[in-house]
Structure formats: structure tokens, C-alpha cells
Symmetry: C7
Subunit: 94 residues, 7 copies
């Protein structure tokens, strides 16, 4: 993929329901913040604070839980992706 997120952003690909079941995690449809699962496909260099770059905690290939309403959706080569800040990623799975 030739999309390079800026700062602490990442590009993620949302997982379909069947894939979630295989990984053992099911996210409730009516949860208050509606978390979702996704795979990280591109990672930014990290946010800069006081002149220092904060290393990212996630890497390409990580399966993550993120807040459904976070981020911006884009379409690339016919597939849908979401660009989110790492702050909106709650946890790495597996």
C-alpha cells in the first residue's frame, strides 16, 4: 500500500464479522462506544512532542480494537480503509 499516514495516524482495514468470530472476539452491536476490529495496514512515524518523536505502539499486521466513530474512511483500489489516530486504538489482539 502506498499511503503513508502523518504523525501518529495509522491506516486500518476493518474486519468482517466472520473474521472476528475466528479470532475469539465478538464486539457487541449495541455497545456504548461501538468498538470494532481491524488490521493495521500502514503506520505513521509517530507524533512529535517537545521536538522528540514518540515511537508508535502498533505495527503493520497488528489486529486491533478501535472506536467505530473514530477516523476518516477512504477507498483505495476498490477497497475501503480508515485513517485513525493511534489514540483511538484501544488494544492489540493476539
Amino acid at each position: 500500500m502506498n499511503i503513508k499516514p502523518l504523525g501518529d495516524r495509522v491506516v486500518i482495514k476493518r474486519l468482517e464479522a466472520e473474521e472476528k468470530t475466528k479470532s475469539g472476539i465478538v464486539l457487541p452491536g449495541q455497545a456504548k462506544e461501538q468498538p470494532m476490529m481491524a488490521e493495521i495496514v500502514a503506520v505513521g512515524p509517530g507524533a512529535v512532542e517537545d521536538g522528540k518523536t514518540i515511537p508508535m505502539e502498533v505495527k503493520t499486521g497488528d489486529m486491533v480494537i478501535f472506536s467505530k466513530y473514530a477516523g476518516t474512511e477512504i477507498k483505495y483500489d476498490g477497497e475501503e480503509y480508515t485513517i485513525v489516530s493511534q489514540r483511538d486504538i484501544l488494544a492489540i489482539v493476539g
Copy 2:
């Protein structure tokens, strides 16, 4: 459990009413902020501030009091968990 929270987040398992009574703590149902008890099952690496990681104050196995409305609920292997920031944990019990 193979869920690794990011930053200062933790994964917690809420306690049932009977378990609370055994520990000697009862949380009132109509309290203003509705605190609840839970067990910590996974702990993030800690928030990063000015390039330094702040060590976490809680560890796996701790029984904690947290604010009911905080966090995001997930289902994992048929059990319900909540991912919350350590900021929303008020105290360790026992």
C-alpha cells in the same frame, strides 16, 4: 488473555454482586457516579509524556473500583470485559 491494551489502558472483568459482598465492599446502586468493582486482567505499557513512559499503578489480578460509565465493553471467548484508561480507576482494594 491475548489482548494487550495500548497506552495507560487496562482490560477489566466486572465483579458480580455476590463477589463484592465477600470482599467487604458494597457499592450503592444510586451513587452519583455509580462506581463498580472489577478485576484487572491485562495492563497497558503506560502513557508516554515528554518522551518518558509513566509506570502503571495497577497490575494484573488487582481488584479495583472504577467509574461505571468509563470505558468500552468487548466480548472475548464468550465473556464480557471492559477496556478503560487507568485514569478512570479510583482505587485498589485489598
Copy 3:
């Protein structure tokens, strides 16, 4: 008491009206912010700022004035307590 508050939080026990009178302080019932008196029964390690822990200004046994609407109420061994941030404690009495 086996409750350890996190960060700059403390556990306090509210004083009854008669106890207040003995200490020489009376807090008006209709005050704008409704301050109340309490005894500190447990103290957190202190907030962390820029990697340094800020020492707490209060200690167990201190009688304090705090803002009535601050904090979270819990019940422990049949008694009611409140968990508040030290920021919501206005002064030490005596």
C-alpha cells in the same frame, strides 16, 4: 482499611454535624459550593507529572474541608466513604 487510592486521590470519612461543632467549624447548609468536613482515612501515592511524583499535602488522620459535590461514594464494612482527588480538598483543620 485496605483501600489504596490511585494517583492524588484520598479516601475520606464525612463527619457528622456534632463532630463539626466540637472542632469549632460550622459549615453553612446553603453555601454556594456546600463545603463539608471529613477525616482522611487513606492517601494515594500522588499524581505523576513529567515523570515525577508530586508529594501529597494531606495524610491519614487529617481533618479536612472539601467540596460536597466532589468524589465518588462507596460503602465498606457497612460504613460510607468518599474517594476524592486532593484537588477537591480546600484546607486542613486543626
Copy 4:
């Protein structure tokens, strides 16, 4: 007085109208922020910022102008006092 304010708070005693006139200052009754005069009767140790205590600018006995709506009123030995942050004190008089 045995009340020790925390952080950058001070305990003040509001002045009556006649006292104000003697000091040469009259505060208008309909001013937008309704400033008032008071005497400082107790001073906190100062706020802590980045691990350093910021020295207080006021001391016991100072006559000050403060914003009327700031602070919390308490009654002590039959007298009324107000606990305010030093941030709400505009100036020292005399």
C-alpha cells in the same frame, strides 16, 4: 486560626463597608464582576508545577481585592470566612 489551606489557596475575611471607606477604596455595587475587599488570614504553601512549589504573592495580614463570586464560604468560631485560590485575588491594597 488553625485552618491551613492547600495548594495556592488562602483564607480571607471579607471587610465591612465602613472599613473599605477608611482605606480609600470603594467597590461599586453593580460592577460586572463585583470585586470585594478582604483581609488574608491564612495562606497555603503554593501550587506545585513541574515538581517546584510556586511561592505565594500574598501573606497573612494583606488587604486584597478579590472577585466576589470566587471561593467557598465557611463559618469558624462564629465568624464567616472564604477560601479562595490566589488566582482569584486581583491586587494587594496599601
Copy 5:
């Protein structure tokens, strides 16, 4: 004048319309923020940031333009003054 402002506050005396005309500046009556002219009559020691006092940019006697709605009005020896933060002073004139 025996009023010592705290922090980065200053005491100012508003100018009458005729005085403004002499200085060559006229401030429009219907301006969006309604700027006004005033003379600085007392200056605070400066705000404290990270333990360091920031030197003040204005001094007693300076003619300044400030935002009309800023500050707190007081009456002193029969004259009206305003206490404002230096942040609300836009420019020095002359």
C-alpha cells in the same frame, strides 16, 4: 497609588474621548471588540511559568489600547480604575 496588582495584572485609568483625539487615535464606537485607551497606573510582578517570572511588557505611564470588556472596575479615592491582565492589552501607543 497603593494598589499592587498580582501576577501579570495591571491597574489602568481609562482615557476620556478628548484625550484620545489629542493622541491621534480614535477608537470606533461600534467596533466588534470595542477597544479603549487607558494609561497604566500600576503594574504586577509578572506571571510565573515553570518557576520563572515572565517580565512585564508594559510599565507605569504607558498609554495602551485594551479590550473594553476585559477586567474588573474599582473605585479608589473617588476615581474609577480597571484591573486587567496584560494579555488583554493589545498595544502601547506613542
Copy 6:
């Protein structure tokens, strides 16, 4: 182009729909934040934080995805441009 953005701002030229298709990216018309593609035509020196200039992550000629509602539109030599902060640029493409 003789427009020099200040701070961490950049001047961008929005791409037409056909150009987007060629690059392989299609941005959905009803996306929640309506991202758009653009080419960077001028870059500011970078924001200043604690006295240090933060280097920019983008450069002239980069194709970027940005949030549609961000920035200020200007017309220059008959062409339309947008001035945005680098914070509103989500990713570099290609």
C-alpha cells in the same frame, strides 16, 4: 508560487475527480468527514514549540489526503488554492 505559509501551514491545490481515479484512490462523496485529495504547492517553516521548530512531514509536490472542511480558500492567478495546517493532512499518497 510566491505564497509562503506561516507556521505549520501548507498551500494545497485540490485534485479533480479524474486525477483521483488515476492514482487509484477514490474518496467517497458521503464519507463522515469528507476527505479530499490535493497536491502540496507551498510549505511553511514548521510550528515552533518550546523554542524549537518542528520539521514539516510534507514537501512541495506531495499528493495528500486532507479533511474537506479544513482550511481557507484563496484564488491566485485565476486558480483556487487552500491554506491548511499540516495537522489537517491525514496521509501522503504514492
Copy 7:
């Protein structure tokens, strides 16, 4: 001009429509933020952060684009000027 802006403020003189056309820039009348062109006629010393003065990016004589709703309008020697923070200046032209 004898107006010295404080902090990171500048005094600017708005350009008339004809002047804009000569410089090759036309600003749309219905733009979302309504940018305007102006010439810088006075520059403040710069904002102070952590005890250090941040150097200004603009200087007297610069032609700039700024947000129309920013700043405070004043009249000086029969001419209208605007005092704005450098933060509200988007770019230097030419």
C-alpha cells in the same frame, strides 16, 4: 507609526480590492473563513513561552493573508487599522 503591539500581535492595514488584483491574488467574497489581504505596519516582540521569546515570522512591509474576523479594528490619524495575533495570519505573499 507609533503603535507597538504586545506579544505576538501585529498592526495591519487592509488592502483595497484594486490593490489585491495587482498582486495577482483574488480572495473570494463568499469563502468559508473570508480571508483578506493586508500590509503589516507594526510588529510585536513575539510571544514568550517557557521564558523564551519566540521570534516573529513576519516583518513590517510584508503583504499577508489573514482571517477577516480576526483582530480588533482601530482608527489612527484618520486611517483604519487592525491589531491581530500572528496566529491569525495564514501566509506572506510575494
